[in-house]
Amino acid sequence: MGSEWRKTTVGEFCPLAYGKSLPKKKRGSGSYRVYGSNGSVGFHNKPLIEGPGIVIGRKGTVGTVHYTTQPFWPIDTTFYVIRAEYRDLRYTYYLLKSLGLCSMNADSAVPGLNRNDVHARKIFVPELGEQQAIAHILGSLDDRIELNRRMNNTLETMARTIFKSWFVDFDPVRAKVEGRPTGLSDEIASLFPDSFDDSELGEIPKGWKTRSLYDSARFVNGAAYRSSHFTNENDALPIIKIAELKNGISGQTKFTKTELDDKYRISNGSLLLSWSGNPDTSIDTFIWCGGPAWLNQHIFRVLPHKKIEKHFIFYLLKSIRSLLAEIARNKQTTGLGHFTGRDMKQILVVQPPEDILAMFNNSVGSIFDRWYENLFESKSLASLRDTLLPKLISGELRVPDADNFVEEAKL
């Protein structure tokens, strides 16, 4: 296969250029992305290169490949590739991704990628039309993943906005007190009282209660796994630490077959709250969607007292993330911070009556479900892309009648 494909080298097909130094203190506050070897690292007020372009990690993190459609600034720890008439840039991006540049680390002290080594790599490339077809097939999958990410942002903001309006600002109650319309359907509006009570939290809607965060659900801390628990056997389950919550299961993930108490076993949809780590990046609430697994310590599994409280608790925890991070930051000792059950006992939160919780569950339930579906869909799309990529790039799987395909897709 690939007989009519042209044999060439990376150096000939898409020569890599060196990025340009831009120290942090010289960076402005513009809207042009600055790329380092690990992706976007900040912004500047002017670009070095007109987009689109490809950035490849050269020093530090080696061989990562990023694609950007916007003007950008690649710094000196990177290489970059720009557009050329004779090749498709997005195809070039997938081509570079398929080369396994990450394993071409040349230096011993600081990881580094040698440009000559990369340029010498032999590759087979198809005609421009087929390049465009391949880029389109893989690109549409990536576009959808990116769209899902953005859509999830919208969905999450939406749910949190409703949460804040109902349970933090008490907008519907306030509107009723002032005799204004609530803007909600009568069915929902009728559930809200029309006056306030005093409480330890300040004003809360009449008839509502308060409780400590600690009492608002059951918080089960994960188990302390030791290295003796680790195994590589096939039917072992992953152990979920903060890293897995943030980046999913990876090569660093540990597996175990040791069955500790069943309460540590999590599955898709489990509500998790990490309570130790870097306060700015690691303290957060997550919904697990990586299949059956065991929960490691430093993460709470959050079990709502009642089923209808699930969405309320999730957005409650999301809404006080900055408060929890703040507590952790105040107890920071080594760059890591944490909060404890004791702190959670001191945080007071509202406890709305059940009919309102049920209504909230209904209204935001569908928003949440779509959010959750998108997570899964993106996972499927990513594995589809990763399966197709090597086959399409090697020519093992060909796009039939590529020129016609491109014509129809109006590329």
């Binding site: 097939i137 769209l147 919208t154 939406m158 906005t161 703040e326 507590i327 000792t333 760059g335």
Partner: protein
């Protein structure tokens, strides 16, 4: 051209000087090399000071019948007498000889012999075989050029600042060990700017190389006071650090009582009866081997017996013990001290709060110290919140959250600008009701004046973040209706785009032969 004023010692050439001196370090440890370099700088300093007086006496010889070789003249002017064989010129001339190590040692011995106050202070092991004599000679050349061509008296000041600059650089080069003798200048400046030691007794029971005193003196000078306005008392447990402090203060012309020798402030308090008006300190963080098991009973533990495993609350009570009735103490502590309930620590803190000792708490950003990246805090304690000098602040405490201040000076270290130091200090001074500082006001996310009841409600935790609150970041201020309208519109667009992409992906898969 306006001179750029940065953290104190900036002469414009220290950098090159440091680079030159550091190049000669070779394989020697920074911790060892600093004694070699700092000793020589000190020697050059006292020699220059002596020469300057010498020249003065020489000039007046004919008219005033002064004798440049009369040592009383030097004692009267508070200048060290430097015997013939120890004068810098002689060292300089012998710099290239293999016996230079011995010559320096002899000079140090001769100076100590003539000046009892320097007894046991100067380093005297320049002749040791491990010290490369060629490099030593080069180093003498480099140091010999400091202040050269300047007026001699100015050259003394320059040497003082070079000494200070080198202390800081050595602290950085030593990394973890460096913090034992050096507190970053911006932290010292902030402490001094807060408590304003303008007149009275200043005390630091863990004084390191004496940075707190140098900065206090600078403060007095800037306020138009005189050198003698403050009396300095210090103590340091590490013998070599104690010597560095003695030299650092001598080079500044500061008359200080650092005790007759080094000593441990817990077990051998050299200033037992001292009640200081100002205490400034940066004790070692979370010290666990302070010999607390031998000090279960002590008059200093007024608010509770500190745990054996951590000296933080022993230090704090040592400070309080030495505070005069109207005195104020400002010191650095690890963040844990503000909230710990380990052993007796929570109880001690509670008792101190109930006794209304805590005047102000400041949380600082991380990365200010060479020793550690951990964020630290500043405590300010006073026995009297209504001493007439300031407004009556009984029952209230000022909390300042300064964690957002400071900027990175290199990849791992932060520094405060003078403006930032001024902002924090002014907030405190305004709160104390000092003149010309403006009206104090709580500022969410930055400062808050809290009552003792509020501190009780927080379970006696002193972390400023708890009181000043977080500056509102979550709320973008867009009204609910408007926000929902925007979000819905975005979502509908995204749904449409999702449908389009779904169709595209379906078709692409069909083309590849994987239709539904």
């Amino acid at each position: 051209m306006a001179e750029k004023k940065t953290n104190g010692a900036n002469l414009g050439f220290e950098n090159q000087l440091w680079a030159a001196a550091d190049k000669l370090r070779g394989h020697m440890d920074a911790s060892e090399y600093k004694h070699v370099v700092l000793g020589l700088i000190f020697l050059k300093y006292i020699s220059d000071a002596f020469q300057s007086k010498y020249a003065e006496l020489e000039a007046m010889k004919e008219t005033e019948y002064t004798d440049p070789e009369d040592r009383d003249e030097y004692a009267a002017a508070n200048i060290f007498w430097v015997p013939q064989e120890a004068r810098w010129k002689r060292l300089q001339n012998s710099a290239k000889q293999p016996t230079i190590g011995k010559i320096v040692d002899d000079a140090m011995v001769a100076i100590e012999k003539e000046n009892p106050t320097l007894k046991g202070v100067l380093p005297k092991d320049y002749s040791r075989p491990s010290l490369d004599k060629y490099r030593l000679g080069e180093l003498i050349d480099i140091i010999g050029k400091i202040g050269l061509g300047d007026d001699e008296s100015r050259s003394k000041d320059v040497l003082g600042r070079v000494y200070e600059y080198f202390l800081g650089r050595f602290a950085a080069a030593e990394g973890k060990g460096g913090g034992e003798f050096y507190t970053p200048q911006c932290v010292v400046k902030l402490l001094v700017g807060m408590i304003e030691p303008y007149k009275g007794r200043v005390y630091d029971p863990c004084c390191g190389s004496g940075g707190m005193f140098v900065q206090s003196e600078r403060f007095v000078e800037e306020r138009g006071g005189r050198l003698g306005d403050i009396a300095i008392y210090g103590q340091e447990s590490n013998p070599t650090t104690w010597r560095m402090a003695m030299m650092n203060l001598a080079i500044r012309g500061l008359d200080a009582n650092l005790g007759p020798h080094h000593g441990d402030s817990f077990h051998n308090d050299l200033h037992k009866d001292l009640r200081a008006d100002f205490i400034l300190a940066n004790p070692p963080f979370n010290m666990s081997d302070w010999g607390g098991e031998r000090l279960r009973e002590d008059s200093r533990w007024e608010y509770g017996i500190p745990p054996v495993s951590n000296a933080n609350y022993a230090w704090i009570q040592h400070f309080i013990h030495h505070l005069s009735p109207n005195g104020i103490a400002g010191f650095v502590m690890a963040n844990g001290s503000m909230s710990t309930n380990t052993n007796t620590e929570g109880e001690i803190r509670k008792n101190m709060i109930e006794a209304d000792l805590v005047d102000c708490m400041i949380s600082l950003p991380g990365q200010l110290f060479y020793t550690t990246q951990i964020p630290v805090c500043l405590w300010f304690l006073t026995r009297s919140k209504r001493n007439g000098r300031f407004r009556d602040r009984s029952g209230s405490t000022l909390f300042i959250d300064a964690r957002n201040l400071g900027s990175l000076i290199d990849r791992t270290h932060k520094d405060f600008s003078d403006e930032e130091i001024d902002k924090v200090a002014r907030t405190y001074h305004a709160w104390r009701g000092e003149e010309d500082t403006g009206e104090y006001e709580d500022l969410p996310g930055f400062c808050k004046s809290a009552s003792i009841e509020e501190i009780r409600e927080q379970g006696y935790v002193l972390t400023p973040g708890r009181y000043v609150g977080a500056a509102e970041v979550e709320d973008d201020g867009v009204p609910f209706e408007e926000k929902m309208a925007q979000l819905s519109a975005t979502l509908y667009d995204q749904f449409a785009e999702a449908n389009r992409l779904e169709a595209v992906i379906r078709r692409n898969l069909e083309v590849l032969g994987y239709g539904e």
